[in-house]
């Protein structure tokens, strides 16, 4: 049986207006959802573009092996490259890194250098700068080499002089000003020397048994994504003992930021969707509320529930599709605003290409979500009894859903399930999704509890002023939507507040906490007997900042094993086992570190270790396990006393493993040296370097400021991007809440008409309405602020594993702003009703 009820049947004038609110909420919701998604993708592309300059490639393959014949690439990496990477429009550039002694002919001066032998096309991404402005390929093709300035001062050489590496005399053609991928190799043992790959055989250094790091830099085909390519190669690379590095992994602070940024944008989209859900449900509820008489008439005329459903869903889709389409289109246009706002992140002329696919997906999602939001009110319409049409008095008031608030529960449950599925799909982790859903359910229950408690408390009040009394009675009246509205507004405002608090926390974490100045140099290989001299020189030149000089005793060691450390070479953590760790020992927890499990040293004599939490996770280590390192030929064991979180955004010296002071105390023959960072005023840097070279010849200085500042600049740009996205989401969230209030206050029209009919003046009606919305705004803002902090604390402590801080000013601003917005929206919206002629108002409220 086909249904041919006219499609405009439900569009009564009041319902039509609420339909507009619904459409506005959906438009905002889809705009923001698509906008955040598209902006996030666009930003990620820009970030990858920036980050790959830190890697000098799109993808880097690295294997530290003992290799045979000198010359070309050792077989392992070249074979792997031929089998798995070559072709497909990709460009490969091999290079080698090894340590060698550099010496000056006819002199006893020697020093260890970190040699990097590169092909003519190095770097594949980013720029390498030489102090004399020459180009690297030109220098290398003429047989010259490039060195760090430290090397010159250490060996007493100048540009143009010759030094020897192995059997090869090499002419120093220039000094290095900026090496793009220096960040991947900060903890080096000596100054950098860059030479041409084809010159390596002349040195005669790569004999059988030599230790060399082979590197294969890859420039991917246009459109290829490094993370995706890396994923396809990972299993084979792990088996072959090759480490894959994507741009995001090139530096811990960048890697962590990317993760947090993705988490933040994802949460922004989800929270917006939930606020949108609150607004759409409120608007849909009001729409159906205004259509209830029509639905009752249809029922009494013999319409089956299926026909009612078809009619309602048809009307809903008719309202929804233009809004969803417009939202999708405006959403994909939003990221076009980013390049002018974040010029540092986007290169000049960066072209944003809107994704129609994303707009389409956002539109479909918006339509599905609006259907989800309508399920509750639709369920309510099933239980709507037309019997009241036979009552000639006040039948409109009587046409209430059976079990008030019941649909809210159904909707809440559906939202929780849908959110869990959404988060699961987004994060790819089912556990995370269900945790999110559980958190959301708790949140709904807390909101419900708080709304009930506040309304209960309100019921005990009996103010003298009539308008406050009337306002309280209205809020408490059975059948009025205010209880549900209070809960919805409280939850909605809570989610908006959470966005605000989260963005503030992210900003604090990324921008405010980084040091005022990046370390100018890292100094490596300071011997125990040089410590005093080093400190004397450093204090002379260091900037007057706390922690301007940081000094740690270090040894190098390889992980031999431990409880929970598997020996399976196929496991992805195998590179963690193969790598060389820089280890330290300290009596106190270093700044920027936080204990997550266990305790700091149990006693001064304890043989204990503190392990960075992500490393512990990857290796399956827990508190109480034992780890063993090969340190200068000695197996050294320690019990894991605690797991530690490291604030990598500090961009300072941090360690994966820290020993207690007693470790290695008794081991003979193990010598410690020191690693230090010094922040110096820019104009003092050259003098500091010279003084160090003069008095501590063997100490290697790595100029870190420019590299770390570029990382910091990148993080700051992204923090600004997060602020932009978060700010946009907050504004849209507030607009959505405004829609919720506007939709609901239309239900007050009948009451306003009655007040006017019994002789209330416009001012008196305004006072009553103002009192209602003042109470509603204050209560909802109170719930919102509490919910906001609860969500923020859960996300920061639970997901970001950071410390949650209470920001009183932001809390106060959110409370005042939220309550004022709700109050103003309600009052302004009711202005028309309080000034309209009474009969016209009554006629409109009677329209069904």
């Amino acid at each position: 049986m086909g249904i041919t009820i006219p499609t405009g049947t439900l569009a009564a004038s009041t319902a039509r207006i609420n339909g507009r609110f619904f459409a506005a909420a959906l438009f905002l919701c889809v705009t923001l959802l698509v906008g955040v998604g598209a902006a996030s993708l666009f930003l990620h592309e820009a970030l990858t573009l920036n980050a790959r300059q830190l890697l000098a490639a799109d993808l880097r393959l690295q294997a530290t092996l003992v290799i045979p014949p000198p010359g070309t690439l050792p077989p392992t990496l070249s074979t792997f490259a031929e089998q798995h990477i070559a072709g497909h429009g990709r460009h490969l550039s091999p290079s080698l890194e090894f340590r060698a002694m550099a010496r000056v002919a006819g002199s006893e001066r020697t020093t260890l250098v970190e040699v990097k032998a590169v092909a003519a096309d190095y770097p594949l991404r980013g720029q390498l700068h030489l102090d004399n402005g020459a180009s690297l390929p030109a220098v290398l093709s003429q047989g010259g080499v490039v060195v760090e300035k430290t090397l010159l001062s250490r060996l007493g050489l100048r540009v143009g002089d010759t030094l020897w590496v192995g059997d090869a005399p090499l002419t120093i053609a220039a000094t290095l000003a900026h090496e793009p991928d220096r960040i991947t190799h900060l903890f080096s043992l000596g100054p950098r020397l860059i030479m041409a790959l084809q010159q390596v055989p002349e040195t005669g250094l790569l004999q059988t048994g030599s230790r060399v790091t082979q590197i294969l830099s890859v420039r991917l085909r246009e459109g290829e994504k490094a993370t995706e390519v890396a994923e396809t190669l990972r299993a084979a690379a792990t088996t072959a003992g090759i480490r894959l590095i994507t741009p995001e992994q090139s530096q811990p602070s960048v890697r962590r930021f990317v993760r947090r940024f993705a988490l933040f944008t994802g949460l922004t989209a989800l929270l917006t969707l939930l606020v949108g859900g609150v607004a759409m449900t409120a608007a849909m509820g009001a729409y159906l509320h205004d259509s209830r008489a029509t639905l009752a008439i249809l029922k009494v005329l013999g319409a089956e529930n299926r026909q009612i459903m078809t009619l309602v869903v048809g009307s809903l889709l008719r309202l929804a599709w233009p809004a969803a389409l417009a939202g999708g289109i405006s959403g994909i246009l939003l990221p076009a605003l980013l390049p002018p706002l974040l010029p540092g992140l986007f290169p000049e002329g960066a072209l944003y290409q809107p994704s129609l696919w994303l707009a389409g997906a956002g539109m479909v999602m918006g339509l599905l979500f609006s259907l989800l939001c309508a399920i509750g009110p639709l369920w309510w319409s099933r239980s709507l009894s037309p019997a009241h049409l036979f009552r000639t008095t006040d039948w409109r008031e009587a046409l209430q859903p059976t079990g008030p608030g019941g649909w809210m529960g159904v909707w809440a449950l559906l939202t929780v399930i849908a959110s869990a599925l959404g988060v699961t799909a987004w994060s790819g982790e089912a556990q995370f999704g269900w945790l999110f859903a559980a958190g959301l359910l708790v949140l709904i229950l807390v909101t419900w509890g708080m709304a009930r408690a506040l309304l209960g408390g309100l019921g005990r009040l009996s103010p003298r002023r009539y308008y406050w009394r009337l306002a309280i009675r209205t809020l408490l009246r059975r059948g009025e939507p205010y209880g549900t509205l209070l809960m919805a507004l409280g939850a909605g405002l809570g989610l908006v507040a959470a966005l605000l608090f989260l963005e503030d926390a992210l900003h604090q974490q990324l921008v405010s906490r980084v040091p005022l100045r990046m370390p100018s140099f890292f100094f490596i290989d300071i011997q125990e007997d040089q410590r005093a001299t080093f400190q004397e020189i450093a204090q002379q030149y260091a900037a007057p900042y706390p922690d301007a000089i940081r000094l740690f005793p270090t040894v190098r060691g390889r992980l031999l094993g431990g409880v929970g450390v598997t020996d399976d070479p196929d496991q992805p953590q195998s590179w963690r086992k193969a790598r060389e760790y820089v280890l330290t020992r300290t009596a106190t927890l270093p700044a920027g570190n936080r204990l997550l499990a266990g305790n700091w040293w149990s006693s001064p004599t304890a043989q204990e270790a503190s392990v960075e939490v992500e490393m512990a996770k990857a290796l399956g280590l827990g508190v109480g396990d034992r780890v063993t390192f090969d340190i200068q030929g000695h197996p050294v064991s320690a019990t894991v006393a605690n797991l530690r979180e490291v604030r990598w955004s500090d961009l300072g010296i941090n360690f994966f493993v820290i020993f207690s002071p007693a470790v290695l105390q008794e081991t003979p023959g193990v010598s410690w040296n020191h690693l230090a960072s010094v922040v110096a005023p820019v104009e003092q840097e050259a003098a500091l370097l010279m003084a160090m070279n003069d008095r501590l010849h063997n100490v290697t200085a790595v100029a870190t400021r420019s590299v770390l500042e570029s990382v910091q600049a990148l993080l700051q740009q992204l923090a600004r991007a997060a602020r932009f996205l978060g700010g946009g989401a907050v504004v849209a969230g507030l607009l959505l809440l405004g829609v919720s209030v506007a939709a609901s206050r239309r239900r007050r029209r009948h009451a306003i008409a009655l007040y006017r009919l019994i002789g209330s003046s416009r001012a008196e009606v305004t006072r009553i309405v103002a009192a209602e919305f003042a109470l509603l705004g204050l209560l909802a803002a109170l719930i919102g602020v509490i919910i906001g902090h609860l969500v923020t604390a859960l996300v920061i402590e639970g997901l970001l594993r950071d410390l949650w801080h209470f920001n009183p000013w932001l809390t106060l601003a959110t409370f005042v702003g939220g309550s004022t917005l709700l109050f103003a929206t309600g009052l302004i919206g009711s202005y028309r009703e309080s000034s309209e002629p009474v009969m016209a108002l009554l006629r409109r409220t009677g329209g069904g």
Binding site: I3, G302, P386, F390
Partner: protein
């Protein structure tokens, strides 16, 4: 059939029970040979669509639809063809042909009630429930509406169940009942009273 009774005596409840929109707490309801208690909501809707027409005191027209669309609604719900010409024909029978494209808000009370009567009779139901159909109308219009109701019921052979406060109006029915304190009693037929 006419039903008289004071306010609060249960007249509307009885109509709601007959329409199958309320369920009896005791006993059962049988209309036109069909027991209503125990039927599902959709089965009751189908029953109303096939057997009942209802005229309310407040008219209860869908405000967004035109007069002819309101009248055609029961046919549309039943998926019957030719709903528009049949609705227009019915409106012409009510003397409302020139007003067929007007919405309820543009019609007078009497006109709205005539549209409601047309909607009630469009499916030729066996039973018409009329709940104080003249309660909101003036005397002249009331008379016209009642004449129309009786003539339509006679023309299409429908039983008219008329709830009213007006004893004179009730006496136009073949059988007259009084409902007081939930007790239904037969009133003497007009001839007997005479």
């Amino acid at each position: 059939m006419g039903l008289l009774g004071p306010s609060g005596s249960g007249k509307s409840s009885l109509l709601a029970l007959l329409a199958g929109v309320e369920h009896p707490t005791q006993g059962h309801v049988q209309v036109n040979g069909v027991r209503l208690d125990g039927l599902s909501a959709d089965a009751l809707a189908l029953f109303r669509r096939q057997h009942l027409g209802i005229v309310f005191q407040d008219f209860h027209l869908v405000p967004t639809l035109t007069a002819w669309e309101n009248v055609a609604l029961p046919l549309d719900l039943a998926g019957q063809p030719e709903s528009r010409p049949r609705a227009l024909e019915m409106l012409a029978r009510m003397g409302l042909a020139p007003r067929s494209n007007h919405r309820p808000g543009e019609l007078s009370g009497g006109e709205q009630q005539r549209v409601a009567i047309a909607r009630a009779f469009i499916s030729r139901p066996a039973l018409i429930l009329a709940d104080e159909p003249t309660g909101n109308l003036d005397q002249d219009t009331s008379r016209q509406v009642i004449d129309l109701l009786f003539s339509c019921a006679a023309q299409w052979g429908s039983t008219l169940f008329l709830v009213t406060h007006d004893p004179q109006l009730a006496q136009r029915a073949d059988r007259c009942l009084r409902l007081v304190d939930g007790q239904l009693t037969d009133l003497p037929a007009p001839m007997e009273q005479a």
